[in-house]
């Protein structure tokens, strides 16, 4: 079996326009939450989000670094975030000029959960109010989910598999797992894998609020709103951004002297077959997803030192924790488990990829990021290290990342240091 390692990372998050800024702010315990600035939130039940900050902000994102002006005008934010994160990852991996033969062995699998909702919403008003003849000729390909992979392949000349996962909030994790399998199956030597989201718009916030998924009691205290496992949690805070990893076949990476961050050793997937938005109360799907990932990795649960939880700050947190305890033991076998959604919000289709990058950096720096706002843990969390409030130095040899999505779709990834 061909082994798959991670050789490049790229991030655009509410805590930074690149990997190191995002990570430093995360470890420092900063929150990316605030009042929504993009639109008037009058009459919205939820008025807060974790927005990617503008370029002039202390930890803002400058789209002009890697995305052409013309493309920026034509596409939705999730595509801009995805192109930039992919560019960062390629630069980090030292992949530049390619021969034609090399380019046919490098592919893209960068997905999104929602896609171009802001653009669909605004262009539908143009169609309605000004007529079909005023709809932009760039409307369709500026909104389609696979157009991160499409744009990135065109910009960097990547002629390998071109794919895009769409599994709601599991997208990022599925994209990495599936891309790793494409490398293992010899479809490619290198894959850009990850996810992106940019759905902070009136329709996106209203839709999730109406589904009773968003925090609505913290509009006056945005930084306290995302509080996974805390007794006072009442929903998630929407985030946005992108995470993209360069996955590479191990011998290929070694041969070119690439820096190797981690090895992807386990991937688990399952379906709940239960409800469109609520997880199975027993955590059955989550359990089987984690169990498969660990079984495939060849590790034992006690080998995992850090778990980056799905932990959205909803009622589902305790279901995930219960399933994890069933697999790892009441105290998680000494593993630390935190939810970084407490700091950056829920990046939906980007979450699994961004959080996998945080897992990798936890192994690199031997420190685990905190669960912010965890002041009064809910019943059932006793004896579990949920890394409340502050990052924690500890040994981190292997990690598990969980992502669960609407529709009852679950994905888990296991990675280790090599």
């Amino acid at each position: 079996m061909r082994r798959v390692v991670v050789t490049g990372l790229g991030l655009v998050t509410p805590l930074g326009g690149d990997v190191e800024t995002s990570w430093a702010n995360l470890i420092a315990g900063k929150s990316g939450a605030g009042q929504i600035t993009r639109f008037d939130t009058k009459d919205q039940k939820c008025t807060i989000a974790c927005e990617v900050k503008p370029a002039d902000h202390e930890y803002g994102f400058d789209p002009n670094k890697r995305v052409d002006h013309k493309v920026q005008r034509q596409v939705d934010p999730f595509i801009i975030y995805g192109i930039d994160a992919a560019g960062q990852a390629l630069e980090d991996a030292g992949i530049g000029e390619l021969t034609y033969e090399q380019s046919t062995r490098i592919g893209c699998s960068i997905g999104s959960g929602i896609g171009g909702l802001p653009g669909i919403a605004s262009e539908s008003l143009v169609c309605e109010n000004k007529g079909p003849g005023r709809v932009s000729p760039h409307f369709v390909h500026g909104r389609l989910i696979n157009l991160i992979s499409g744009q990135v392949s065109i910009k960097y000349g990547l002629r390998g598999p071109n794919h895009a996962v769409v599994t709601a909030c599991s997208t990022g994790a599925h994209a990495i797992g599936d891309a790793a399998r494409m490398i293992a199956a010899d479809d490619a030597d290198i894959m850009l894998a990850g996810g992106a989201e940019g759905a902070i718009c009136p329709l996106g916030i209203a839709g999730f609020a109406q589904a009773r998924a968003l925090a609505t009691e913290f509009n006056d205290r945005p930084e306290q709103a995302s509080r996974p496992y805390d007794k006072d949690r009442d929903g998630f805070v929407m985030g946005e951004g992108a995470g993209v990893l360069v996955l590479e076949e191990y011998e290929h990476a070694k041969a070119r002297g690439a820096k190797i961050y981690a090895e992807v050793i386990g991937y688990g997937l399952s379906g709940d077959a239960y409800h469109v938005t609520a997880p199975h109360p027993d955590g059955d799907g989550a359990y089987r997803s984690m169990e498969m990932a660990i079984r495939k990795s060849g590790l034992k649960p006690e080998d995992i030192d850090y778990i980056n939880a799905h932990g959205t700050s909803t009622m589902a947190d305790m279901i995930e924790l219960g399933a994890t305890q069933r697999l790892f033991g009441k105290d998680l076998g000494g593993a630390s488990m935190s939810s970084t959604k407490s700091a950056i919000g829920h990046l939906l289709g980007g979450a699994g990829a961004v959080e996998s990058i945080f897992c990798i950096l936890a192994m690199r720096d031997q420190i685990v990021p905190p669960t912010l706002n965890l002041e009064n843990p809910d019943e059932g969390a006793e004896g579990v290290d949920l890394v409340p409030l502050k990052a924690k130095k500890r040994e981190v040899r292997a990690v598990l990342n969980n992502s669960f999505g609407f529709g009852g779709t679950n994905a888990s990834l296991v990675m280790r240091k090599i």
């Binding site: 002006h69 013309k70 005008r73 005023r134 932009s136 000729p137």
Partner: protein
């Protein structure tokens, strides 16, 4: 430069993200300014909005340079 020319050039700079000096009257949208066929559709729509003119598809197909656009607009605007 006529007022029409100035407004046309401003739209071209904004939509195609090119430097203003490159938008000469002889510049071809595709050969000199990096536009593709969809960009031209979008530019024509922007001209229609800006100047309140209708540019039918068969006329739009003949607009290949900055000068073509200025001439069409000047001879059709109300």
């Amino acid at each position: 430069m006529s007022e029409t020319a100035e407004r046309v050039k401003k739209i071209v700079v904004e939509h195609l993200g090119v430097e203003a000096e490159k938008v000469t009257e002889d510049a071809s949208f595709i050969d000199d300014l990096g536009a593709d066929s969809l960009d031209i559709v979008e530019l024509v729509m922007a001209f229609e909005e800006e100047f309140g003119v209708e540019i039918p598809d068969d006329a739009a197909e003949k607009i290949t340079t900055v000068k073509d656009a200025i001439s069409y607009i000047d001879s059709h605007k109300g």
